[in-house]
């Protein structure tokens, strides 16, 4: 027990129960060794600990997870007679015995629950509850609670009690002197466990007087401050019917012990009634004076000053009402004590500082201008040209900043070069800032023009996009991080296809443009720090930041526009071709060839291209068609045939048309042709007119097909290098004497062709009739050729000699007909006049082994008539056709030099350089020829 009496150790406070003193002769007990400290169940059996989370001391059935029944599931049987009762399992069904025991989680023994625990003893809670009850609309609701007093106390109470605490006391060491001034309120009178009842009124004054020295008092209990909000509409401090007074008046003092009304109410009102000692009646503001009341003087509560403290009081020691929750009398304390309110008592060894701590000086933030808006706007960078000066101005106004037009550069915008310029220094020659410096003046100007155009476009584009974005969403990503992320994202998508070539946003400043391009390249490589890397290290932080912004935006702009555009358009096929083929214009020529053919209504071979095309295997299956190329895995057009319109195809034709290929091919083709022919008359025999025209067109198409069988054919095997070289040389020649060559020389072979055609169709008259026409022109032809010849000879004497030496090779196939012989003779006779041949021959040799490849395609274009004359025709070039038509009017003799390779080689260049005029001329000739043929037809 606590030592109370001894003066010496009055400061000593001892808690708890002391050990019983040892008896004499008894040996101290040995502590139980660790191994003996075992857990046993109620039957004394040893219990095994399985683990805190795996069952504790009880792990299922005989330390297994099983049960008595094992794992057999219970079977559910229910019949009409024997209904199975629905068993609802509660949590207890899954509990062990221990769980139901006293210390388990669901103890079965009867204990008082919290609801019935003694609240009366819990003063703190009680007070708060009563306070709430008193202010409640129906006061006294707690009355019943008060009557029922369960005996059970919480363990805390019991512990305290055992330590000597009594209810109503405060906790802490006892104090010597009773508080001097105690409020004469009934609530405090509960302390009167030490005081006799009824003696509270008079005792106050006497306390000081006869207090013995050795009497100590328990500290004052602390009343919790009630924070119950005011949730009613009564006036402040309104108190309804006080049931205590109504029922029992002030006589029921022992009730007061328990109820212990709120302090405020007792301060204001409670003491009045109590002090007057009224026996009976209902007091309260809600009621007037009853008929039974003998006194009605002070039923209306009168506020008198006497009820208030008029003197500043010292703090009551041991009161415990500190801090901001303290009653108002504490507020008028000394300054130093005021500070203490917050920290409590000053610890031993500490004293209050006499000098207040010097507070940190706080500088006020700068005052914002009135029209400041806390949103950052990116200032678009627009090149200051005359065209967009207005735009610049508008942009600058919207941004609220002066533009950086070249005249008013701030010093931040000057780099070393510009400063040097301003100072009049000569630029350093050693290291040019960009590649542009190396360009000649002319080139520079040209570049500048191009740049200005693109620049302007870019600026417009950018301005538009900026305006859109500005109008769409005012607050733009101002933080560099956000911007960085966004452009990085966008760029990573778009940079794969970015080309730095045509978008030059900083063309005005070459050094900057260079940095920008470097940045783009880095971006393309996927370097995250591309921006940082390419910036000029010599720049200031501000400049860097600005440039970083600009680059990012420019790249974003470019990437986005590029990607959106590229998603909308596919690449033009022509462009692809032009990548492969060096001379794209030949392709156009080809189209124009076709167009002219269309204009001439010469459909057929001229307008037809045939390609090898590989259908998908599945498509063949679905169409119930055998796969034409069972071995190939290719689908669509073979890729090597991309350059189908290139001039090089024409160049390869002389060889492909030559001997071994066509011999093999000619076997197949005639049948194909033949079927056409046999079919056609049957369809079109309705009118003679029709038939005649048909036959003409057939003839024409035959002629076309003959001379130009391989026009669309690919030349995958052609050595491009050679061709290019050859072309460059041949172009020179052609440029020199194009017209005379192409017209004069090229026109001849067609005679041969037509001879072949007409001979086979046993129509001699047509050729004879044409002979007369052709004679007149023959002379001219000869002279022209001579002219051209001479000029060429001088130029390319060596080349021609080489060519002539190699000429005989392709002509080796033996002639079938006398005509052929004659032609050869004639060719020999006119040999000197032949234009020189250069590369084609050389190429022929190289390509000889590759001829086989063209065999297949050749076959399709062969006709029956060709078959007869194929030997000589092989040498023909498709371009002869043009000349041939023209030549038909001319005499047979004029075709003397036609079949030579040299003429072929020249005519090869024809398609590339055919002028529209010439085409027109040829067209005319063809028409004449047709007319002539029509005249002949009726006779035959």
């Amino acid at each position: 027990m606590a030592a109370l009496d001894s003066d010496s150790d009055e400061d000593l406070v001892s808690y708890g129960t002391g050990l019983e003193p040892l008896e004499e002769g008894e040996r101290p007990k040995k502590p139980i060794p660790l191994q003996d400290q075992t857990v046993r169940d109620e039957k004394g059996r040893y219990k095994r600990f399985h683990g805190a989370f795996s069952g504790g001391f009880s792990a299922g059935y005989f330390n297994t997870v099983g049960s008595k029944e094992g794992w057999t599931p219970s079977s559910f049987v229910s019949s009409r007679q024997n209904r199975a009762d629905k068993s609802v399992l509660g949590p207890e069904d899954f509990m062990d015995e221990e769980d139901l025991s006293e210390f388990g989680i669901a103890p079965k023994s009867i204990v008082t629950t919290d609801d019935f625990a003694s609240k009366t003893k819990d003063r703190i809670r009680e007070k708060a509850r009563q306070l709430a009850a008193a202010t409640a609309p129906i006061p006294g609701a707690t009355l019943l609670d008060d009557l029922i007093t369960p005996a059970k106390l919480s363990i805390g109470f019991e512990l305290l009690r055992k330590m000597g605490w009594k209810e109503g006391q405060g906790i802490g060491p006892r104090v010597k002197r009773r508080p001097r001034r105690q409020k004469p309120d009934p609530g405090v009178k509960i302390y009167g466990c030490a005081l006799p009842p009824g003696g509270s009124e008079g005792s106050e004054d006497e306390d000081d007087d006869y207090l013995p020295e050795n009497v100590t008092f328990a500290p004052k209990d602390v009343t919790p401050v009630d924070f119950t909000p005011k949730d009613n509409v009564h006036g402040l401090a309104y108190k309804g019917l006080d049931p205590h007074q109504a029922l029992f008046g002030t006589s029921g003092e022992h009730f007061n012990l328990f109820s212990g009304g709120p302090e405020e109410t007792s301060n204001l009102l409670g003491d009045i009634g109590v002090n007057k000692g009224r026996k009976l009646g209902i007091s309260g503001q809600a009621f007037g004076v009853g008929a039974l009341e003998e006194e009605d003087d002070d039923i209306y509560a009168m506020e008198t000053l006497s009820k208030y403290d008029t003197v500043l009081k010292d703090e009551e020691p041991g009161d415990g009402l500190y801090g901001w929750t303290a009653p108002r009398q504490y507020k008028s304390q000394k300054e130093s004590e005021k500070d203490l309110r917050y920290i409590g008592k000053i610890l031993d060894g500490f004293s209050l500082a006499s000098k207040p701590l010097s507070s940190k000086k706080v500088y006020p933030p700068p005052e914002l201008p009135r029209d400041y808006r806390p949103v950052h706007y990116f200032r678009p960078v627009v090149a200051a040209t005359s065209e967009n000066s207005h735009l610049l101005q508008v942009l600058s106004e919207s941004a609220g900043k002066p533009t950086n037009d070249p005249g008013t550069h701030s010093r931040h915008q000057l780099n070393a070069c510009k400063r040097g310029e301003l100072l009049g220094e000569t630029p350093i020659q050693g290291a040019p800032t960009s590649v542009l410096e190396f360009l000649s003046q002319k080139d520079k100007e040209r570049l500048k023009e191009v740049k200005q155009a693109t620049d302007l476009k870019a600026a417009q584009l950018r301005a538009r996009s900026l305006a859109q974005s500005a109008s769409g969403s005012r607050p733009q990503p101002s933080s560099p991080d956000v911007g960085h992320c966004s452009w990085h994202m966008a760029l990573s998508g778009g940079t794969a296809t970015t080309r730095t070539s045509n978008f030059k946003p900083f063309a005005k400043d070459p050094a900057k443009q260079k940095r920008y391009e470097e940045f783009l390249v880095n971006m393309k490589r996927g370097q995250k720090d591309a921006l940082e890397r390419c910036l000029d290290p010599g720049m200031t932080e501000w400049e860097r930041g600005r440039e970083r912004d600009e680059f990012a935006r420019a790249a974003l702009l470019y990437a986005s526009s590029h990607s959106t555009l590229s998603s909308r358009f596919t690449h033009a096929k022509e462009e692809d071709d032009s990548d492969q083929v060096e001379v794209p214009r030949d392709q156009e020529n080809d189209v124009s060839d076709k167009q002219s053919a269309v204009k001439m209504k010469m459909f057929g071979k001229l307008t037809r291209d045939a390609f090898e095309w590989h259908p998908d295997k599945l498509l063949c299956k679905r169409f119930n068609v055998p796969d034409p190329y069972p071995d190939s895995t290719l689908v669509g057009l073979p890729r090597v045939k991309r350059d189908k319109y290139s001039v090089f195809n024409f160049l390869t034709i002389p060889e492909t048309a030559s001997s071994p290929v066509t011999q093999a091919s000619s076997e197949k083709v005639p049948q194909h042709r033949g079927s056409d022919k046999s079919r056609k008359p049957s369809r079109w025999d309705t009118s003679k007119e029709e038939k005649k025209e048909d036959s003409i067109s057939e003839f024409l198409s035959l002629a076309r097909s003959k001379v130009g069988p391989a026009k669309p054919e690919p030349s995958p095997s052609v050595n491009k290098e050679e061709e290019r070289a050859m072309e460059s040389v041949s172009n020179k020649v052609v440029n020199k004497d194009v017209d005379s060559q192409t017209e004069g020389e090229g026109s001849r072979p067609s005679m041969d062709l037509f001879k072949a055609i007409f001979a086979s169709s046993s129509d001699e008259k047509s050729s004879s009739s044409e002979d007369e026409e052709g004679d007149s022109e023959d002379d001219q032809e000869g002279t022209r050729e001579a002219d051209s010849k001479s000029s060429q000879e001088t130029d390319l004497a060596e080349a021609s000699s080489v060519a002539q030496a190699s000429e005989p090779a392709p002509q080796e196939p033996a002639p079938f007909f006398p005509i052929q012989k004659m032609q050869i003779d004639e060719r020999e006779a006119f040999g000197p006049r032949l234009p020189p041949v250069f590369c084609p021959n050389a190429r022929q040799k190289l390509e000889a082994p590759l001829k086989e490849k063209h065999k297949k395609n050749k076959e399709k274009h062969k006709t029956k008539k060709e078959h007869k004359r194929k030997k000589e025709k092989k040498k023909k070039h498709r371009k002869h056709k043009h000349k041939g038509k023209q030549k038909n009017k001319k005499a047979e003799k004029s075709s003397s030099s036609e079949s030579t390779d040299s003429s072929d080689s020249h005519s090869e260049e024809g398609p590339a350089d055919l002028s529209p005029q010439e085409l027109l001329r040829r067209t005319l000739l063809v028409y004449q020829l047709q007319a002539a043929w029509r005249c002949c037809q009726p006779d035959g």
Binding site: R608, D616, S682, T686, S697
Partner: protein, 315 residues
């Protein structure tokens, strides 16, 4: 190969207006006969496809499911399914009876101008302005086409299919014929953007209409010009052309509100049939009878020969 002897007097041409159907589906983009000519399909600009009996004028079913206007449709050989393509870049395979979408093929990058079944309705060929023809497999569930024919350099305006060939007309002015049996691609240059192509019924010729207001009959095998037909007006629109049921006449829409008939052999204008004030957008010719369907505005017209009696109308 027994070709009919052309009669001295032209065969009967459909010039009697039998019916005018207001389709109620916006502008009729295309009108197509089914395989036996008893029914017809109209492609509306209100995203619907309608199946009609044109002779009776009864609406049989409406197929809705396209996301944009329907531009072309075709029926399968067994009348069990339909395919259609439209401005929503999708090719749709329909079940005729239930009216449900069986498949929706997506992959074209542009409007689908034309769709065709192959002979066995196992493949749908669709030509689009993205300059590709895509061959969609109706048998498998693959979302990708079997093959994409991307040789054209401009939009595909018309596609026709025979048993082993695919004929395609493109705005780049070329007629391409993919011969699956030979494994060859034949490209005939016509010069002007091609609006419509078709095979002749005997499969020997191709009829090509182009934006230079000219129709050309080309020999299929050689590409030679067999005939030229002019007189109508076709400068802007993608108008249809076809051959009559026995290949005796060439028929074409015109922008001046008429349908032109030319004698195929002589090339002479046989009839200019006035349809209405607008542009004749589409037409379809009955596979067996001299019966013509034309589409103008939001309605279609059914034309029969003069001697035709409505009571004895088959189907």
């Amino acid at each position: 190969m027994a070709f009919p002897e052309p009669k001295p007097r032209g065969p009967e041409l459909p010039q009697k207006r039998l019916k005018t159907l207001d389709c109620g589906q916006g502008a009729v983009r295309a009108v197509r006969f089914n395989v036996d000519g008893n029914y017809c399909l109209t492609c509306g600009s209100d995203k619907t496809l309608k199946l009609w009996n044109p002779l009776r004028g009864t609406l049989l079913r409406t197929y809705s499911g396209h996301g944009y206007e329907v531009l072309d449709a075709a029926g399968s050989f067994d009348n069990s399914s339909l395919c259609s393509g439209g401005g929503d870049k999708a090719v749709v395979l329909w079940d005729v009876a239930s009216g449900q979408v069986v498949r929706k093929f997506r992959g074209h990058a542009g409007k689908v101008n034309t769709v065709q079944f192959n002979e066995e309705a196992t493949v749908i060929l669709s030509g689009s302005i993205d300059s590709t023809i895509r061959c969609w497999d109706c048998r498998s569930r693959k979302p990708e086409p079997i093959q994409t024919l991307d040789e054209a350099r401009d939009g595909i305006s018309s596609v026709k299919v025979s048993d082993h060939e695919v004929l395609a007309g493109s705005v780049d002015g070329r007629v391409r014929r993919y011969d699956l049996r030979m494994g060859q691609l034949f490209s005939d240059y016509v010069g002007s953007p091609i609006t419509c192509i078709c095979f002749s019924r005997d499969g020997q010729c191709t009829l090509v209409s182009s934006l230079d207001s000219t129709l050309r009959l080309l020999d299929k095998d050689t590409g030679e010009l067999l005939g030229e037909y002019t007189g109508h007006k076709n400068k802007e629109y993608k108008l249809d052309c076809c051959l009559s049921e026995r290949d005796t006449h060439v028929v074409s829409c015109s922008e001046d509100g008429k349908v032109f008939f030319w004698d195929l052999v002589e090339g002479a204008l046989a009839l200019a049939l006035p349809v209405g004030p607008g542009v004749v957008q589409s037409l379809a010719y009955h596979p067996m009878e001299p019966c013509l369907l034309t589409a103008m505005g939001g309605s279609i017209q059914c034309w029969r020969e003069e001697t035709y009696e409505a009571e004895g109308a088959p189907g």
